[in-house]
């Protein structure tokens, strides 16, 4: 992925904004990213807009009307929880291919509260409850139970993910939840689907994040390299076949294969990574992804969370932003928000939660829908 850099990136603090429209928050994030880069809409040559829930309703065009209708193609992107990462990757590919010098990627979402209602399901037959479940917490609970059955991973170990990430969020003024949640509280909170309790589930919030991707040549020409972050890998895969997907959507194999491609493209291994933002939509997911991303061997993620090595100050901090568990999870915005966190650290701008000396960071996203499939993205970023 030679030649593409992030020249500007930002996110609005995620939250609930009943009085603000999708285009209002998307425009705010886009303008923040442009300001961060020191550029304006006049510099942008292509716009990729991710919105998992409103991609069919021209979110990019609506945002463009708010920030300046300059001549440019707009592509609206949807890819489940990987929507924002997919929009960002399109911007990277547009620049890396030489087609454009400057591309804008926005991820934006307005969410309802509660369990996400899945699109495209049967209208006249209520499958939920009748043939198991399609809700996302349950899918990740079922995946967690498999891990427990194979390796003895405990409820307590899964719960420790929430303790860690909520602690991290106390240092992040942009997180939605900013309070300590002791282990006893996490384990005693309302059981959603064993082993995920309410405090082990990410929250549906509104949010927007945006990134300005430019060619390295453009960034050099315009004096932007001092804060630029290099994109070393932009890998994406969907629906890698597994022998279980007719019963449970796979999030593991697709993540493993995406990570493999990203490490290969970057010429790097997990030993080179200084911090990771991974898709902790539910606490069980984080432990599975420790193994999928190569932080530890199969079955060792329980011991890894116990060791504290993935907490801020540890050997390889994971989700120092607070993760989706704390920031909230506005589907389309999450992928770019994860990249924003990595960039903060690579620019030494993460304040109290700065991972000291961070040079290389990895951002991971994976989404999926029962019976349909998955989408995963892994980006590796490097301090210039």
């Amino acid at each position: 992925m030679s030649g593409a850099v992030i020249a500007g990136i930002d996110m609005i603090p995620f939250g609930r904004f009943p009085d603000r429209s999708l285009e209002d928050i998307g425009a705010e994030a886009a303008l923040m990213a442009l300001a961060d880069a020191g550029l304006t809409i006049h510099d942008v040559q292509a716009f990729y807009c991710g919105s998992a829930l409103q991609a069919t309703a021209f979110p990019g065009q609506r945002i463009l009307r708010r920030i300046g209708q300059r001549m440019m193609p707009v592509l609206n992107v949807v890819n489940g929880c990987a929507t924002g990462a997919a929009a960002f990757r399109e911007a990277v590919l547009a620049v890396a291919s030489g087609r454009h010098d400057v591309a804008l990627a926005v991820g934006v979402e307005k969410m309802d509260r509660g369990l996400i209602v899945m699109p495209g399901r049967p209208a006249d037959f209520q499958e939920e409850g009748a043939i198991g479940t399609i809700t996302t917490p349950c899918l990740f609970s079922q995946a967690g139970v498999i891990h427990s059955a194979e390796y003895g991973t405990t409820f307590e170990q899964f719960a420790k993910v929430s303790v860690k990430n909520h602690h991290h969020a106390t240092l992040n003024e942009k997180a939605f939840i900013r309070r300590e949640t002791p282990l006893e509280e996490v384990m005693a909170s309302e059981m959603i689907a064993y082993p995920n309790t309410k405090l082990m589930c990410s929250i549906n919030v509104d949010g927007a994040a945006a990134a300005i991707v430019t060619s390295e040549a453009f960034a050099r020409r315009h004096g932007l390299m001092n804060r630029a972050v290099r994109v070393r890998a932009a890998a994406m895969l969907a629906s890698v076949f597994t022998d279980m997907e007719d019963g449970l959507t796979d999030f593991n194999e697709v993540t493993r294969e995406t990570a493999k491609q990203a490490y290969e493209a970057a010429g790097l291994g997990v030993e080179d990574i200084d911090l990771i933002e991974l898709h902790d939509c539910f606490a069980t997911a984080e432990l599975l992804h420790y193994e999928n991303l190569g932080l530890c061997g199969k079955g060792e993620s329980g011991a890894l969370i116990d060791s504290g090595e993935t907490a801020l100050g540890g050997r390889l901090p994971v989700n120092v932003s607070g993760g989706l568990l704390s920031k909230g999870h506005p589907l389309g915005a999450t992928g770019i928000a994860n990249l924003y966190e990595i960039c903060l650290h690579l620019r030494d701008e993460a304040g109290q939660r700065q991972v000291e000396g961070a040079r290389i960071g990895l951002a991971h996203i994976v989404g999926g829908m029962t019976d349909y499939g998955s989408a995963s993205a892994v980006h590796i970023l490097e301090r210039v």
């Binding site: 209520q126 198991g132 498999i146 689907a193 064993y194």
Partner: protein, 143 residues
């Protein structure tokens, strides 16, 4: 809720409604790679071969690959219930609701044998026909 004279229809495409009541699940088997897939397929999802897939009747027995007890679901859906994923004997995987007592530890249920039954869900379409789908029953307790 259930109406004994309602005409049964499949709630999901991989349920086969049999005139004589021998309802069952259908799958597809790939002669090239051996994969067994749920439902009727034109090509093999595992290896991509498009000339090697034949339709097969799936077994009515299997084992619990994973399950969870669902305590929070969509509005109107009765909870708790057990959402399970079953490895079907002889090949194939299917999800569904596991009947029987709610386990205190879902992890301990993994590997348990079940019978896969195709039954009236109690739901009706606009014409009053009965949606039938798979449900799982612990094999020890099956009739």
């Amino acid at each position: 809720m259930s109406d004994p004279i309602a005409e049964p229809i499949a709630a999901v495409p991989y349920v086969i409604i049999d005139r004589d009541g021998d309802h069952h699940l259908v799958g597809s088997r790939c002669a090239k790679c051996g994969a067994t897939l749920l439902g009727r397929r034109v090509a093999c999802a595992a290896c991509g071969a498009n000339d090697s897939v034949t339709q097969v009747r799936l077994s009515d027995k299997g084992r619990i690959r994973t399950c969870t007890v669902v305590h929070r679901s969509y509005p109107g859906v009765p909870v708790p219930f057990i959402a399970a994923v079953i490895d079907i004997d002889g090949g194939g995987v299917v999800r569904g609701t596991l009947r029987g007592p709610i386990p205190s530890d879902p992890v301990a249920e993994v590997g348990r044998p079940v019978r896969i039954c195709v039954e009236d869900t109690g739901q009706r379409d606009a014409l009053g026909r009965a949606f039938y789908s798979q449900v799982f029953r612990p094999l020890e307790a099956a009739a």
